[in-house]
Amino acid sequence: MTPEVGHYALVLALGLSLIQAIVPLYGAQTRDVALMRLGSSTAIMQFVFVALSFAALTTAYVTSDFSVVNVFENSHSTMPLIYKFTSVWGNHEGSMLLWVLILALFGAAVAAFGANLPVTLKANVLAVQAWIACSFYLFILFTSNPFQRLPRAPLEGRDLNPILQDIGLAIHPPLLYLGYVGFSIAFSFALAALIEGRIDAAWARWVRPWTLAAWMFLTIGISMGSYWAYYELGWGGFWFWDPVENASLMPWLAGTALLHSAVVMEKRNALKIWTILLAILAFSLSLIGTFLVRSGVLTSVHTFATDPTRGVFILGILVFFIGGGLTLFAWRAPLLRQGGIFAPISREGALVFNNLFLTIACLTVFVGTLYPLALESLTGEKISVGAPFFNLTFAPLFIPLMFAMPFGTLLAWKRGDLYGVTQRLMAAFGVGIVAIATTFAAAGAQHVLAPFGIGLGFFVIFGAVIDLTERVALFRRPLGTSLSRAIGLPRSVWGTAVAHAGIGVTLIGIVCASTWGTERIVAVKEGQTVSLSGYDLTFNGMVQRQGPNFRELAGKFTVSQDGRQVGALSPSKRTFSARSMATSEAALLSQGFSQLYLSLGAVNADGSLAIRFYYKPLVLLIWIGTLIMAFGGILSLSDRRLRVGAPKPAKAKPANPKPDLQPAE
């Protein structure tokens, strides 16, 4: 019964989205406030019904209702409870349901917190949201229904893919989807602005918090996915330039560009058309990401051709929204008036530079990811574009971008003084050069480029620090004044500095871990000791263990440094009986920001055990840096000016009340 309720709730959500797709739009055209307001109610009710539908599927999973095909194929009665929850989205159908749940959540959030939006803008935004929702409900109901029943319920399920039986599945996909789908709001705002043919600084102020929130989720989502791959896959890589990873990186790059261009639009009323275009592109790339992953086109062009139902459906959605969005853009964008003149050397100029490089970086990833597909379908020739290509083409775009970052935040609006900024950045240059020299002295000249990477990282971090110290006039004014200024600084200024410093931290982590990481691949016997980068690893034998739905063979190792034991490592190999599949669980030991990484290979005939032992210097900085970036996003989001639905600062009522005039933003 429950699955049918879920199914029915989804159909009702579809019905509501159809109403929402048309009525508020019509209301906005005919200036009928009642019709426009309808969008808010339907958006909230849509969320209620999708949530009900999602709850129904979750119930089926938690109660192991194997009469539902989806549950039968992806669950097992002995699975720990947490994985019964997470396996709801550990498959195609369920993950699409999560996608629309988040879409409905964002739609309801706009309806609930958008009280200060102009009523026509809100109506149009909700209508565009409903178009997206509508197409995805149809996709789920027609091609990917998670509520399909089996005529006769099997006794046991086929179990969730063992690799997915990890806490990573609880964190990574929801965050990633919050990011992907979050950009739909920016998209809807962009289309609504185009429909109205009007856009102003206030528009940018409304769009920014949504974009910022989506960007934060996407940042953490990608980063946590990277960490999951790092510890789960057993060879300690953190970024593979896999098409599926690229699919999530592209919206991130476009979204980062959007975040910056929206600043220019909000502060200076310039770059309007470009901002709109980026908003369309960011969500289009999210859709392309969904398409790439969902349609099977990545595995092979032929897979796509043999079972094209889903692929063609998503392709249709893609063409409709991207094509439609861009057509509307081409038609209506000339109506938008450009404003705000600025000199090339200025804050605006720096942000344009940022946008140029981020967009080209995004284009590089896009072309690299899709070129093999295009070439194969056009000529039949197969080529591979992998990590070596991307490393070579991506780095030259990101290095100038990072180098320009500290300059950008220090330049004044309209017309900046590059010479003055360079002088103010002298301390950061100094720190960078010291870092380069120290790295050369410590690590030798074997890797020529890596010390410069470290230097760049330090320059970026200290550039962000200088941005703050300059603003509070540290050491130039009494400390108390600086302190009160620091408290008075807008949170978004703090956010910018923190997020920029985070990128520097990530860069240092990437350079260190990929340049000075060491590894030993050996076969060890019990009692034997292996040394790596000053750590001694001793193998103390194997143990058999029984887990809830797997058996595991674990190795027991101790790690010591200079004869002092610093920790124990217990990597294992698990066998999952339901799918008769095996996974390898690596063991990690953090030493400060560095990690020791151990994974098991085969047990040889002579009783020795193959192991892979890595030392990854400062590897944790990669993910810590991204968390710092996201924290910068939170700081910025908490800025009063941007807070979603924040009440206006309470002003003391003047003695003679004046008419309450809102400043024209």
Binding site: A229, W235, E245, T359, L363, G368, V385, F389
Partner: protein, 157 residues
Amino acid sequence: MRRFVIIALLATVLMPPLAFAVQPDEILKDPALETRARALSQELRCMVCQNQSIDDSDAPLARDLRLLVRERLQKGDTDKQVLDFLVDRYGNFVLLKPPVEPQTLLLWTVSPLMLIVGTGALIVMARRRRNVTLEAGRLSADEQRRLDAIVKSGSPD
């Protein structure tokens, strides 16, 4: 093993039996040669996997290719000779960084070209905008006459 995200997002993935990427028995005695073998392995694609290098992959084919690379290196091949040998056998598909050829020209040039075009467009727009500003800042002959009159008389009209 395939990449996590694929697994996280695709419904089902056929898994090859779990093994190990580089095995201890594959490693060459000569560390310099082994370093070259590892570097080459990272440039080569495991052709039955999704976008994985043979260095990362634990598929049996990847192991065969790794052994082949090492065999060629031990016979004294240069890095380029090893790559050429594999391209002869398997085509460009085996290279993770495709060579610059007519079919891949667009792949290699589109980003640098767009960077140049984008920069050019920005410069042109900045120039045009400046001219507009200058134009707007200049007074028409009539306005100039009025201004002169004002300056001369010392009071507006």
